[in-house]
Amino acid sequence: MDENLKIVGKRVIRSDSYAKVTGGALYTADLKLPGMLYAKVLRSPYPHAKILNIDVSKALKVPGVKAAISGFDAYGVKWGVFRYTQDHAMLPTDKVRYIGEDVAAVAAVDEESAIEALSLIKVEYEPLEAVFDPVEAMKDTAPQIHEQYKNNINIHIHIEVGDVDKAMAKAYIVREDTFKAKGEAYAMMEPYAVVASYANGYLDLWMPNAGPHVRAKALSNLLKLPLNRVRVRHINSGGAFGGRSEVAPGDLVASLLSIKSGRPVKLVLTREENAMCSRQVHDIIATVKTGMKKDGTIVAKEYKTIYDGGAYSSTGPIATSIPYYVYEECYRLPNVRYDGYRVFTNKGIRGMYGCHGRAFLAGNEAQMDLMAKELGLDPVEVRLKNGLTAGELTATKSKIISCGLKDTIIQAAEKSDFKKKWKKHTRNKGIGMGCVAIMCGFPMGFRSGSSCYVKINDDGQVTLITGMVDNGQGNESLAVQVASEVLGIPMDDINLVNADTEVTNLDPGSYSQAAAYVGANAVKAACEDARKKIIAIASKKLGVPEEEIDLKDRVAYSVKTPDKRMPISWITREAFFKGEPIVGTGSFFPDIDLEREWVSKPEGQMAGTYSFGTSVAEIEIDEETGKIKVPKFIAAHDCGRPINPMAVEGQMEGSVGQAGIATIFEGNMWYKGFLLNPDLLEYKVPLACDMPDIETIIVSSNDPKGPFGAKEGGLTIRMNAYSAIACAFTNATGMLFEELPLTPDNVLKLLEKNKGGKR
């Protein structure tokens, strides 16, 4: 069936596009429920302070105010993704740990009254010494942010493979460099919003999220409610990028206010609150030591990477690991020592990011180029030489299933005339290449798999029920398109019910790159189940063997004698008459090592498969101003088989902006725990006019287990676009970057250094 696909692989208009471009799509902030109240949050003005007392009584006297709460109204439960990281109360009662932390909140009939009431809440603090720099925080003299984490070390990941010291000693050349990068802002188009509605003992919630089931579970813990009484419902989401996978303080705030007032409560964060008080991205300091043979073969890697973790654990163990893993999934590393430290500081809460780890990854790639140059080798050849191939194991023993890395490198290099341009660079013009791999899903215990139900309705139309969630990347359309292929029913005839914890079953969510590989595989399985039932009836009715029947354009027909045919709607009705309506179920659980654990056992099969990608950037440096321009960008991505090439290209193009141009634009700026650029004027998200001329290349490696051969669609570019820019900078100037972003002043300083001047 795979070879004559009807709709999979076609450039279809996404099922969600029309509503979104016409403004018809509704988001959480658009929701209005009868009797709904508006919430506002009182936030900590201190980076670190003991809470002595919180008094909300005066706030309750403001006309229109229906509830006021603080952490003392919560249930004393702390949340963490892992048992060993449960340290986040969301509404603290002991002390505040960052500026902007949620301290108390009110719900009122309008926003004005809520704001007025906030000013009447009395909080007594005892300011404590604070620490903002992770290196400082690790010192014995630094203030302790959490009792249970000595030296503020939240997570230490230690990976040891082979004999690093011996290999380094034998290497032909060895280089060690340290790279820094500022944390980025997710800058989702939709600032965080949540509506909570508690009635009759049941809590309903709407919010942009990347995994409704994990969200509901976290809230059921925090609120001490049985899981069946917490329902996270479907709503459009205006972006997540990794920042909305975890439960948010606002979820708890809105829920408590709704439980107290007995009315629905809406909380919408401002743009600034979204940046300061929802999640942020880790600042990173990465020390990379590489040993290489004369022929460019990597023989050893030694890493020390420090992640500025902000005030709480969040996805700590994962965040501390991922940059390394996506690198070892790309290159053969026979001997490795990785020490990743996630360190607490008195800064906002941090999460995973689609472009997570830029100091580490761009550092590795740029350093490799400098070493290649020293050895008289071409970066393309060095990447091809060290790149993993299908069937190989990564350093921590995870098997590469399908692999188009080589093709992405070769095609991107050819399209950009890389080898020639790399040699012909000038002081202010360079070209660079970055490669990476991405796991399609990672171990999440019993949540690693997905299931789907499908029912065929009386007119032959279809309802698809899956836990898959869409944050804007097109997962919903993906599910519909896969179902359309299997059932021979046009996308328009398929209704989707998804991301609602009451009606859908578990799904890994959309933050581990598992939607296509895991979620859509379950959709495919469920639809195949239903397809079998349709074909069985058709076979009887048409008098042809089942193997001969195909489904297409709402019709079941014989492939041999196509005029033997009948509409699927007739078949459906036939099934109803028999009292056996057509429903299908299916699930998919990836082949992974469930014993694998981020800290205690970093070894074993990480994911069902991996995607691969290569970025090539050309840059121009204005040597007088330090401004970098990116005239051209080429991105090649191996997504297995693209279900909808247009959607994959969209992801790649978005990545060029969010990771590539961000290399020169984006970074959070701090002054003593205070975020200086929480708005979109001072936090520079690239605009359309800042984008380079982009060429995208889809490489198809046809994964043996992916749905129709599909894997994750586009994330590799999010994790190598910055490497391409950093490498282009190295190509032009012969130097490595020291800190990202490469802002004009930063570049000018480096150029001066190169000239031997001061500054």
Binding site: E624, L681, L687, C689, D690, P744, L748
Partner: protein, 325 residues
């Protein structure tokens, strides 16, 4: 945002009358500064008096020099071919101010009355020796734009005074101007630094011919200047203005003096850039550190001067910047 009363007078007189009878009132033109400040709670007026119905504030008059009404939008300026040709620095500023949506409503009067050190139209108006024409209960007065700003957000305007228009003298022959806005993004960004220059040159007979020849090439101005050396172009008069280097947009008067009467060369421009940098007192800010701003003054003054000359000698050229440096 608190609620407020909204007024929409049809004439300057009416607007002034309403204003003088109210406490805690504010004029509003395009509202692109006022509305932002309201939301940020930097201001909380009880009355907003819109100037948008006053059509006499919307004129562009090019009969003698240039007069631009305070309610003229940046987009109106952008589309004006006369301004583009003769007062090019102004178009340089408006064409990159905010975004199209902002330019459609935001006014030049609002930009100046808001008195941000980064206001994009301030430097171009300063180099064209603009005067602000002001009307109040006490009548009309003219203030040199150089004296108009008092500090960030502060101007000489009294409570019940309205800025009517900017009036700029006619420019001499052989005059060119440019404004360079140094930003990180291509749009929707405030300048790290803004520099505007205007220069009037004189050509003696010989060099005029050589000039023409050279200028027919697509050579960069810096190369042309290099080849012309001492016999070349003489600077008759010059203006240099800088934004975001002091509490208000300022003229670099010493740098202007250093240029006037001299034979033009790249070295001279670099020297002038240094002098201009010494006249600035930039601060460290989130958009750029002081040292960086000082360095950029040197670069941008030089570039703006070259661009200004380019516009004299190649007036019909559409695109300048790429081949200049």
């Amino acid at each position: 945002m608190r609620s407020f009363e909204y007024y929409k007078p049809n004439s300057i007189e009416e607007a002034i009358k309403i204003m003088s009878g109210l406490d805690n009132a504010k004029f509003i033109a395009g509202g692109t500064d006022v509305m932002v400040q309201l939301r940020q709670k930097k201001i909380s007026p009880q009355h907003l008096i819109s100037l948008r119905n006053i059509s006499e504030l919307r004129n562009i008059d090019t009969k003698d020099g240039l007069k631009i009404g305070s309610l003229v939008t940046h987009d109106d300026i952008d589309k004006n071919e006369y301004i583009k040709k003769y007062y090019s620095a102004l178009t340089d500023a408006t064409s990159r101010l905010g975004s199209k949506q902002i330019r459609n409503v935001a006014t030049i009067g609002g930009n100046i009355c808001n008195a941000a050190p980064s206001a994009d139209t301030a430097c171009p108006l300063l180099i064209f020796d603009a005067k602000a024409v002001i009307i109040g209960t006490k009548g009309e007065r003219e203030v040199d734009l150089n004296e108009f700003f008092l500090g960030p957000g502060k101007t000489v305007l009294e409570k019940d005074e309205i800025l009517k228009e900017f009036s700029m003298p006619r420019l001499k022959e052989n005059t060119g101007s440019a404004y360079i806005k140094h930003t990180r993004r291509e749009a929707m960004d405030l300048p790290i630094l803004g520099v505007a220059t205007r220069i009037t040159i004189s050509l003696d007979k010989d060099s005029q011919i050589r000039c023409r020849d050279l200028l027919c090439t697509i050579d960069s101005i810096s190369n042309i200047l290099m080849q012309l050396k001492d016999e070349g172009l003489k600077c008759e008069e010059a203006r240099i203005a800088m934004g975001v280097v002091a509490p208000k947009p300022i003229r670099a008067k010493k740098a202007e003096e250093a240029l006037a009467g001299k034979i033009i060369s790249i070295e001279l421009f670099e020297e002038v850039g240094e002098i201009a940098a010494s006249e600035a007192q930039p601060r460290d800010s989130i958009r750029g550190e002081a040292w960086y701003r000082k360095e950029m003054i040197k670069v941008l003054v030089k570039r703006a001067l070259m661009k200004s000359i380019d516009r004299i000698v190649r007036p019909d050229e559409e695109i300048y910047p790429e081949r200049l440096w």
